[in-house]
């Protein structure tokens, strides 16, 4: 399956990448996507996740073609 992973703001800076394109099987949840894209790095505290631009929890399932995003708490407005 193919998953696009996106990072924003301070998380993007600390990881040093704005996106990954994962091609791998066995990705069941958003948490799996993080670990597959960042094998040596625990997901930092407070990081939010979205699938196809909707907020989700880390146990949310993912499917082929999804866009998964990770980012810190929002500070707009």
């Amino acid at each position: 399956m193919s998953i696009k992973v996106r990072y924003f703001a301070s998380l993007k800076e600390s990881i040093g990448r704005s996106e990954d394109n994962l091609e791998s099987s066995g990705l069941a949840t958003v948490g799996d996507v993080w670990h597959s894209a960042n094998p040596n790095k625990a997901l930092p505290d407070n990081i939010l996740a979205a699938v196809n631009m909707e907020y989700v929890g880390l146990s949310n399932p993912v499917k082929d073609g999804d866009e998964v995003a990770f980012f810190p708490p929002v500070t707009g407005g």
């Binding site: 301070s10 979205a50 980012f71």
Partner: protein
Amino acid sequence: MDIKICPEPFDPWQEIKAYQHSAKNIAGKFGATSIFIGTMRDFNEGDDVKGMTLEHYPGMTEKQLEKIVTEAIRQWPIIDVLVVHRVGDVLPNDPIVLVAVWTSHRGDAFDASRFIMEELKSRAPFWKKELLKSQAERWLVKNTDGYL
């Protein structure tokens, strides 16, 4: 209803005026307009701030703002809503966000505009990085609760 993401400085008064003129069907129908404008300050947490970069998640930002406005329309009898949010490089005294709500009665306008602002602050994917006078950069980490 209109939701705009602005990569360039915007004039909030011009935005509201133009929107109100373009939405001709609301003339004579609304009795109340509640407007909130967030503006960049030249200081924060005790430091002088030179500028700010506002990052967003194109697509998700618009989607979340539409959901917020739709929720407001479901809760209050709203005639029209305009939301404008700046992105990119921002200078002190630049408007950052504009929320305008047109209703028949003032209580609804106040409640709905405040709801939209609070939800925007907690759910719309924008992130601010400040550039201090000292040249240091820092990401803002958390928005405060505006009901407190």
